[in-house]
Assembly symmetry: C2
Homo-oligomer: 540 residues x 2
């Protein structure tokens, strides 16, 4: 067979040739803008060419601090298209971590959304490698800034050649992208994506039995483009010619609901917290949701009640998936097998609440201290993953040796696996609750609590306990209309039939909000810290 | 990203783990047999192990002379699973060519269906490299044979270890398969498939926008497993957990129609001649075709009338594709773009009669003497293809330099390409008719003739002509019920409105049958030979 390398630029070239009329839609401060793939292609080529002209070289890191919109998509292809590395930076991290990331990746140029400029002004004196700043503004003139040298995105584009030819003498294993993921303690850890990994992952997203990204689709990635390449959706959607509906800067649930209605979005994807917020918006407003046929959800386990609402009330397929920054991210995908179609509605929901089977192209195993666990749906173990779109290290980081051992990524996620090969995430290793020598899954308790009609969000954490070592405590946010009407006893008696007695939380603490990480996951570390003396105080 | 090689064995391993209950169904002389993927997995491992025991080594060629059934599928995975090369041999070729192929590939072992044994007995004294014969018989005892040494498939299996571990230290570019394709003149030419090519091609078959091979499917590959890996369907169907319904040895249109009805086939695939034969069987019999939702058709251009019957009469999606042995084979695939959905029925049929756009992962271009042709749907040129599942040579063959130039496969097919990037096959380069210095497409004329209700098959060929150099002559097989009722004038006046006058065939010759190649394509060479003095005779 021919020695043809799998390169990111080929995805855009395919769209330019076969889907030149299809659009990328971005709601920007100046209004909704629409670009065809023919235009995106020319602009991307201009940008690659302009990057070369300002001195960016192969394998140089090109940083982005930006929301989801067409310009960010252009950088997605322009940087790897000229042999450089797209480095998406999570704008929700602390300024200290952002400084660390930029210096550690040695970014040569930063692409900055206008509203993120103040942050960059704040940290600019600490940046060691950056040689140029590009402001992604809609306006003709640059905003006032002390950054130097600084370019306006559109003016920079005009210096480039729209007939630029993407470089092809690149090894498919060369770096094409980079993303840092926050660590429990210490600085974020860098993951490097290769051209090969991105292309293979894009195939995986196009399979009929996974997300099935199609030319028919109008895809809206809610998941930010600064987080694990927006789950790879921009790459796959471009390749397969889907219309892309970008949420734009500083989107709200209201904006998302409007975009779904007005732009007739067919597929979207986000973490459970944003899916919940979208449902809340739909409940409170009056939106047409009929175009949406599927919502891809991952990042943390989705509560069963939410899945039920999407599927049964709104008739939207809930595509429950699992992955992490280190896995590009799609690793497992939940779908019913053909012979499960006659399961009861309840049993189907139970299946959909699991994280599914392995995506074709990867390998996994679930291990405990004794080796691989039984596929019985009960035995717990840590999930290990291997495959061509799985990271093999953290970039220049000593923590590599903790997570990558013997050719496997140790995910840190505790799962069960059943006889169908379907995994169910129980917890992060560090979030499991160890009570009297037995494990309790916080995720199971959370899902049970969130099935109660009064509960908006619930997070269960381990709290140190004199007698039992650790005991579960539930942190609960009630829906507005239920505040003052529901007691902790109501909630505990609701979930009592579902668990062994010793699994039940010792207490329920009501909160206004559950603290979250920069990508919308429950920040359990903060909850544990807050509650660490909960039982100590009681015993006083 | 991890350095994980794309290997054929991983496809079967995925099915063993995640689809162990799904079945492969084979109608054998002893009756229909059903094996689960769990069983297929064990049997394949036994076979890999047994092959090692009889001395087969890495990269040795393992030849098969067999129909579509589970044992052939087991060899599909057992040979590459132990590092050897699956070499499928076209049993419809002449004995001389089969001898050439086996000796040229240096097959070490031959797997032979019982009904093909007489052929092998006939040629055995000419085979130079074969060290063992395996008869794929259902019976306990071996049939009488002079082959030596000879094994019974099932007994050989029993000598193997069902816990055999497939070898993993293989480079993904190593050979996994081989298939010879017949040449216009001379011996067949060998194409070598790599592990990487087969895995990537399988991804392409699973995409929502191509064949979308799915776990939901019950796939029946009519296209023989000795021809271009049955278009890769056995690999993809196994990987994605589809039920596989094999047509078994010496199938007939009646058997196919029965299998579709009884085994509730959802997707099938074959060349236009077999699709026509299937339609004829349906018309004459009384079959339930309701399970079938798609028929994949390629190998030569499908007539518009046939597409219409499948789509409009039977409500079966007609998946028109293009490829050749050298392209694994899937290269282009016809589907309507989302914005073409409001075309008229007629326009949609016109689109479906084209061969479609490029499958994601490949590159093509269409060239004439001046360079790339316009994408105007009119300019004709030869189709060139490049990609990771496209051959880069003919195995140890000097004809490599004719077809593979500057990194491109020169397909020898003349096409037009329209503004949507959709190609339409007009002819093989050598089948184009050159009349008075202008090109005439035989395929266009054939499709027009086949749209007449009386016509079962039509083939148009160039016949030497004193004045015009070449002129088209149509060879037509009428449907039984129309014989003696339809004249050549009827047919010519039917197509007259569709073409320029000088395109119309100078004559129509009625035949009982059109000679075909071993894979069901019109054998135009034979027709040209037969008709070469047609105009010479007339002018006498």
């Amino acid at each position: 067979m021919m020695n043809v390398q799998l390169l990111v630029s080929s995805l855009l070239e395919h769209a330019e040739k076969f889907f030149p009329k299809k659009e990328v839609i971005s709601p920007m401060p100046s209004g909704i803008v629409r670009h065809t793939y023919a235009e995106i292609g020319k602009r991307t080529r201009q940008l690659s060419s302009a990057l070369e002209k300002i001195g960016i070289q192969r394998e140089d890191r090109v940083g982005t601090l930006a929301w989801n919109h067409n310009r960010h998509l252009e950088v997605y292809f322009a940087a790897p298209g000229m042999g450089a590395v797209l480095h998406t930076i999570n704008i929700r991290l602390s300024p200290e971590h952002i400084v660390y990331i930029i210096n550690h990746a040695e970014d040569k140029v930063l692409f900055i959304d206008e509203d993120i400029l103040p942050l960059v002004e704040l940290i600019k004196d600490h940046l060691k490698s950056v040689e140029a700043f590009v402001i992604m503004t809609d306006k003709e003139e640059l905003p006032e800034t002390t950054l130097e040298p600084v370019y306006s995105y559109e003016k920079l584009l005009q210096t480039g050649d729209e007939a630029y030819q993407f470089v092809k003498d690149i090894d498919e294993n060369a770096p094409a992208g980079m993303c840092y993921t926050s660590a429990t303690t210490g600085n974020p850890k860098g993951v490097v994506y290769s051209h090969r990994g991105i292309v293979l992952h894009s195939y995986a997203l196009g399979l009929a039995d996974t997300v099935g990204v199609s030319e028919n689709d109008r895809v809206m990635p809610i998941v930010p483009m600064f987080h694990a390449n927006a789950w790879g959706l921009p790459f796959a959607a471009t390749w397969f010619g889907s219309t892309q509906v970008m949420p734009g800067p500083r989107f709200t649930p209201k904006i998302l609901a409007q975009l779904i209605e007005e732009e007739k979005v067919t597929k979207t994807g986000g973490v459970p917290t944003i899916c919940l917020a979208l449902l809340k918006e739909w409940e409170e407003g009056n939106y047409d949701t009929s175009s949406l046929n599927a919502i891809l959800c991952g990042g943390s386990a989705a509560p069963r009640g939410m899945i039920q609402t999407f599927e049964q009330k709104y008739n939207i397929s809930f595509l429950h998936a699992y992955g992490m920054t280190e896995t590009s991210p799609l690793a497992t995908f939940s779908r019913l097998k053909s012979y499960q179609m006659d399961l009861s509605q309840e049993d189907k929901l139970d299946e959909r609440a699991k994280q599914g089977i392995l995506v074709p192209g990867l390998e996994f195993k679930v291990i405990d201290g004794q080796g691989e666990v039984e596929w019985d749906g009960k035995s717990m173990g840590e999930l290990l993953i291997k495959g061509p779109w799985i990271a093999d290290e953290y970039y220049k980081d000593e923590r590599t040796k903790e997570a990558f051992q013997d050719g496997w990524l140790h995910t840190g996620d505790v799962v069960t696996i059943d006889e169908e090969g379907v995994i169910k995430i129980l917890d992060r290793t560090k979030d499991l609750i160890k009570s009297g020598g037995e494990w309790i899954s916080s995720v199971d308790l959370e899902n049970a609590l969130m099935a109660h009609e009064a509960v908006f969000e619930a997070s269960v954490v381990a709290v140190p306990h004199a007698e039992w070592q650790e005991r579960p405590v539930a942190c609960v946010v009630l829906k507005d209309s239920y505040k003052d009407n529901v007691t902790k006893e109501d909630l505990l008696s609701f979930i009592t039939p579902m668990f062994a007695k010793w699994w039940l939380p010792d207490d329920v603490v009501f909160m206004e909000e559950i603290p979250k990480t920069s990508v919308g996951k429950f920040l359990k570390r903060a909850l544990r810290e807050k509650l660490k003396d909960h039982f100590a105080a009681e015993s006083l």
